[in-house]
Subunit: 320 residues, 2 copies
Amino acid sequence: MTIHIAVDIGGTRMRAASYPIDSLIPKASNRIKTRKKNSTSIERLEQLIESVWPEDDDVSAIGIAVPGPVNTAKGIIEKAPNIPELSGLQVGRIMQDIFNVPTFLGNDANFAALGEWKFGAGRGHHYVVYLTISTGIGSGVIINDQLFTGATGFASELGHTLIDPSGPICSCGVCGHLEALASGTAISKWVTEQILSGAETNIVFDSNSDEPIPGNIIADAAKEGDALAIQVFERAGHFLGMAIADFLHIFNPTIIVLGGGVSQSYSLFSEVLYESMQSHVMAPEFLDNITIELAQLGDDVGLMGALAYAREMTASIPDE
Amino acid sequence: MTIHIAVDIGGTRMRAASYPIDSLIPKASNRIKTRKKNSTSIERLEQLIESVWPEDDDVSAIGIAVPGPVNTAKGIIEKAPNIPELSGLQVGRIMQDIFNVPTFLGNDANFAALGEWKFGAGRGHHYVVYLTISTGIGSGVIINDQLFTGATGFASELGHTLIDPSGPICSCGVCGHLEALASGTAISKWVTEQILSGAETNIVFDSNSDEPIPGNIIADAAKEGDALAIQVFERAGHFLGMAIADFLHIFNPTIIVLGGGVSQSYSLFSEVLYESMQSHVMAPEFLDNITIELAQLGDDVGLMGALAYAREMTASIPDE
């Protein structure tokens, strides 16, 4: 039997699983910490893949989702903010040399888009915009049944779309990007600022702590009716609606898929998001047939995407 | 010999030309007014195509560029602001029934992008973003050697990308789109406002006239050193640079092609545009290998695009 191995490398953990060609149920799976004393992330990645390698079956390909932009032209991770030692490395080529099977590298948000399209909320659609809203805002786009990565692999960085040039500074250094206005980090920062400015709230805030207020604390407060907590989610929804109107003008998709931690509080901001999207769209035709859906694959989305990519890439490689 | 007929329908004039399969030099071409008393635009379009129809050769296909969004799913012009009688019509189907050859309809800016990619500034590139900056801002995008039109034909309306929500109102009714900040109309409006607010300038302005100040008057003043005229082009360049940074994040192209009347004054704002693009890009990698070029096909761009599309579509239709 032919097996594909999918790997999802995160800042704190990396996961791998081996899948039979006709199944989404892994034959084997494993999860380890990304970093450990006395071993490199590359060594740990090798061990992880080895741990799910099938004894009796052939492996067709390995797909690896990585947290950072992948230069597809050079086959390297351009930047891995959470795992600096991987930056600039040809991780795919290194694993291919070790295991002697085709190995495909991709950005985790791009692979997640592919996973949601193939196996999740985007099934049956041909044009999909996927946003994962958590610490930052990642994204991936399916165009005409293909993952869109642009000329060198950097396309569809939709979290870094300008929404308001007078807005707060983004993780990338530019002011007013969507990520700086509607990510989990942005939500936490805005609440902190409001509390420090004297806003009333039931959210407990330790002004001596350097830790941001956790998103679930704010979400819980909103569900209990806390006005400030409700306001910050609606604020995020407002900016997301503006951005999604832009994405409709740009990509003319039939579905927007929302994933990531913040999307778990979607009911707190869906109404404002829709209103904002409708009032920012250039013509009502752009709203025809569009649906906004929550992602379905949860924490497995990176693995599922890496699997989808590995399967797709080897479907086009003829057997010897 | 096989002939393709290309048509470009504009608000005031429509043009057509017939091209041998291996040439960009028309066998016949013609230009007439779009509207005339006692005849419909459809009748005039039929007469125009007839006037370039070859006597002895076969026609493989007709390509028609129209000034408005084309719903490719339904095959209709969704809206033709300058030729309302065409709105909602299946112009392609109507001509196909009259002339009995495959007829392909497309948005003029999309076709222009295709023309510049096939025959103009974008040759050799696989990922192209084309902007035509004139009264409004139209655009088209080539992705992986294909014209990108989205799920229903409305994609890549880049003139309606949000740049500053506190900016002026756009032709579509939404505030702060690129078109409202950097089109010819926006340039003229801003200069008018500044003059009415007492700004000093050598630009002659008739406050009794309802006509906007023509762009070439402002461009001439800028070339003669008029501070206000220089400022308005740099202002447009600033916003274009912000938008292009977004387009790099979104499409990761290798070339930006600038066409339309305002781009003829590119030397007045190219420096500011570059600075603005560089300071608004999320990471320097997005600037690798990117070039900004002026469009090369001038007024023929719509015809050339319609020709390219007709040729491309019939290349995939097998001969009977």
